[in-house]
């Protein structure tokens, strides 16, 4: 593959992103598509890390996953396994997966399967559990574990059956395009996309012949209750898109952004699988009554894949409704944020046209060079977890990657191309 300049390589990468055709095709047990996910193996969000360096909510998620898998009888047994290095950890990103918040994914959890039909890349993400006490925020009480079992036994198989009735699966780009025009930015706000998904899937579920009516009702009720259900679909779609873009292997476009509560990690096209990391920041935003910044956990989760493809905080202007919730002032601030993001991006994505932005396409292709040049870092919309496991989400806001990630990435790439000095 011959590119004369970085700009040419970057252009090839963004063309690959535009050409991507993500389809949601199935929901399957994680272990059936991720061979590395054997007994006593867990996936986690962000760049590689050790158990001992995980923050409390992420460690709580590990306990919950072990209880769900039945590898230990109780919390004590689970902690024993974890503290004695009996559990192997792999970053989601290393096995074609992404995971929200802690991102802890175990072999029997059901995962969404999104296929990029342009390139053949598959990506996986566990399903959204709703809000309140949930595993991704570190909760592991009985209610959490029971819900995980229900998702494995009912939600997963029902959705799988429904999706398999579609010859090609569900075209995710169509859902993106519809919902961005209805005020979603796909990280903090997914209600329109989740409803659009429900609109597609509900008639199929009710017509499934080999599913009990009670289960159909439960599944539809769950989807109707879970405003953020589409976030995890968007994440898997983003991963499938960017993994295709990564095959260009040249240039300075950011192909992944993720965090694990300890470090923020990015990848750029020209440096392949290498992570460039720096300590994470703590999100800034608004808190639910009774909580404050003091209670906030550091930044975590693979969900920043949405910003990597140009939505989420990058497309703040698409979702004026959430700007106040994430702590910015209002429409004009959202406009300013998105306008500023164009300074670090190469182009705009014709697939994601934003009406509130005078029908401009969402930001496309974060150029690590431009981030370093301007000092403007991508803005990420995020939920804020309590720093103690089990409390769950306590607020929402925005967070920025540390600029050192980008500085390290472009320096390494320049050195790879022969830069000395």
């Amino acid at each position: 593959m011959g590119f004369r300049t970085i700009n040419e390589a970057n252009e090839a990468v963004i063309q690959k992103i535009i050409a991507a055709a993500p389809f949601l095709t199935d929901v399957v047990p994680a272990k059936s598509v991720i061979p590395e996910l054997k007994e006593y193996v867990l996936l986690h969000a962000g760049p590689p890390m050790k158990y001992e360096n995980m923050t409390d909510p992420m460690q709580g998620s590990c306990v919950g996953a072990i209880l769900f898998e039945g590898w230990a009888k109780d919390e004590e047994g689970a902690r024993d396994l974890l503290e004695n290095d009996q559990i192997t950890f792999i970053p989601c990103h290393h096995v074609n997966a992404v995971g929200p918040m802690g991102g802890i994914t175990s072999p029997n959890m059901p995962v969404l399967v999104v296929v990029n039909k342009e390139s053949g890349h598959e990506a996986y993400c566990q399903m959204n559990e709703g809000i309140g006490a949930v595993l991704r925020f570190g909760a592991y009480n009985e209610q959490v574990i029971n819900r995980l079992h229900w998702m494995k036994d009912v939600l997963g198989p029902v959705l799988s059956k429904a999706l398999r009735t579609l010859a090609e699966g569900l075209n995710v780009n169509v859902l993106f395009a519809k919902a961005i025009a209805m005020g979603d930015e796909f990280h903090q706000r997914n209600i329109a996309a989740s409803l659009a998904f429900l609109k597609e899937i509900a008639p199929i579920i009710t017509s499934l012949e080999d599913v009990e009516k009670e289960q159909c009702t439960e599944v539809i009720q769950f989807l109707a209750d879970t405003d953020q259900f589409f976030l995890n679909i968007a994440m898997a779609a983003g991963k499938a898109m960017m993994d295709a873009a990564r095959t260009i292997e040249h240039g300075t476009v950011v192909t992944a952004m993720c965090r694990n509560g300890e470090n923020f990690g990015i990848r750029i096209a020209g440096m392949g699988d290498e992570w460039f990391t720096a300590p994470v920041n703590t999100p800034q935003g608004l808190y639910f009554t009774g909580y404050s910044a003091e209670d906030a956990n550091t930044d975590m989760g693979d969900s920043a894949i949405t910003e990597t493809i140009g939505v989420g905080g990058m497309a703040m202007i698409a979702a004026p409704a959430v700007t106040r919730f994430v702590g910015t002032g209002g429409f004009n601030d959202a406009l300013e944020t998105s306008n500023q993001m164009t300074e670090i991006c190469i182009s705009e994505n014709p697939n994601f046209v934003i009406p509130t932005w005078d029908f401009k396409g969402a930001c496309l292709g974060i150029d690590a060079r431009k981030v370093v040049e301007t000092g403007i870092t991508p803005v990420i919309n995020t939920g804020i977890a309590h720093k103690i496991a089990g409390y769950g989400q306590i607020g929402a806001g925005t967070v920025h990657p540390p600029i050192e990630c980008f500085e390290k990435a472009i320096t390494a790439y320049a050195e790879k191309l022969g830069f000395k000095g």
């Binding site: 011959g2 590119f3 004369r4 300049t5 970085i6 390589a9 040249h250 300075t252 020209g270 060079r369 370093v372 040049e373 301007t374 000092g375 500085e407 472009i410 320096t411 790439y413 320049a414 191309l417 830069f419 000095g421």
Partner: protein
Amino acid sequence: MLYTIIKENTYKDSIVLMLLSNKLSAIDGVSKVSIMMGTPANKDIFKSSGLGTDELEKAKPNDIVIVVDTDQEQKVDEVKEEVEIALKGESDSQNTSKGQEAHNWKRAMELANNPNLALISIPGQYAAMEAENALNEGLHVFMFSDNVSKEDEVKLKQKAHEKGLLVMGPDCGTALIHGVPLAFTNNVNEGDIGIVGASGTGIQEVTTIIDRYGKGVTNALGTGGRDLSTEVGAITMLDSIKALNQDPKVKVITVISKPPAEEVQRKVLNLLRNIDKPVVTLFLGDKPSYQEENIYHAYTLEEAAVVAVQLSNGDKPNFEPTTADVNVVLKESQVGIKGYYSGGTLASEAAMLVRDAFKDTMTEEQSDRYVLKTNTHEIIDLGDDVYTKGKPHPMIDPEKRIEMLEKSVNDPETAVIMIDNVIGNGGHEDMASELAPAIKRILDSARQDGRQLAVLATVVGTAQDIQGYEKQMEILKESGAIICKTNDQMVRTAIQLICGKVEQPIVDVQKFDYTKENLAVDDKVMSFINMKPSVINIGLKSFTEAVQNSGSECVQFNWRPIAGGDEKLMKVLQFLNYYEGGTI
């Protein structure tokens, strides 16, 4: 007590801030104040001037830092207010200027209409990189910035030469490109004399004298002071001479420089001997020991200008130095010449002539604060780095000169004081009115002390300069100064007053063998000097206005250090942005 104010992420050019520093110093109750960008080098200046604070260390290169020394805390607010007003005024005036402005290369190239020249006046440590960026964009470069390393200069000029482009500078103060004045340049008639010069004020003195003789200069190409060093090897000068030679509108070529390294001088002369057009050279500091049939070797700036005019008229070269009439009675004890110059080359010329006149009787002291220093005479270039660190150039700021003038009167041995007033684009709007009261004061003070004093002044400028050549002379004359037409005349007048004389060189015509040179010039250079340039101005805003006022196109690039001023990252970015290779 020291107070520190930091304005984050507000980049302003150092000249703007230096002028603001002066304004803030004038606030009553403020004993000392300085305002600069928070670069490591500037922090050192703060510290060495006794304004070092702990807060200062937190400032980043893109932050404006103000340190105030005052006993009255309420004065800090006053300073803050003044700063806000000044910075706001600055940005307001930016908004009202013609055309749009860019903040990065991409935008600048989009806004500009077929640009072919980058005018660079940003801080030295960043200038080389932006010059390279400009060359990569296919632009000729005029580097006003100084403090650029010699290695970088060599690299840039070699690259430019290979690409068929010219790099004027670094530390280039003056150039006329097809009649368009760049940086500190006078408005001069267009005409058939072409000039290449390694010195800014040298070019200004020669072009303005030519103008006053009714002739003109269409292209005066500056090379920067180090172009004729061994390492740089006169790359820009040689390319410029060839360009003027190829330009059919140029009748006479004039070359101005300090005496170059010997092998470089040989290279330059060899090229000139290949040329059929009449040539005037001035290697200021060398007394010519021979003439050539087609090359006139001049001794002073005025001589170079006058001979160029004569050759352009088709006359035989003939230069007769002159002196001005002076009615001053000096005491026997008054024997010293003092020269307080804003033009470096003018100071060098003065030193050269004084040395020539008194070489048998005087002993020089070595000091980097003086161009010439003996127990009686002193000639100072107040534009030298020693005097300008953290202060504006004396062509813009009269303060240092006034201080020197007032000090000089305390020395009863002083006979003559010489000052220059370089007007034109980039200069102070009315320097004569700033200097006049000081001149009056010292003349009065000497008189009260029972002695007379000769204050000689020369104005470097033309009738077309905004300050008004005649008006500036008139103001100085009224203050009691004796006006000399040129620096040559001023220095010879001073020497005569203390009974010295400079002999003009009497020389024979000699013939030299020379090796043949390829005189071909890249089309890009020819088209550059044959039309008004389309300029991208990176740095000082006032340069954009001067270019636009002369009817040329100019896009203002409001530069600020990228990557927060981190030099390694800037280099990484430059490497990636201009990387070319089939293998990535």
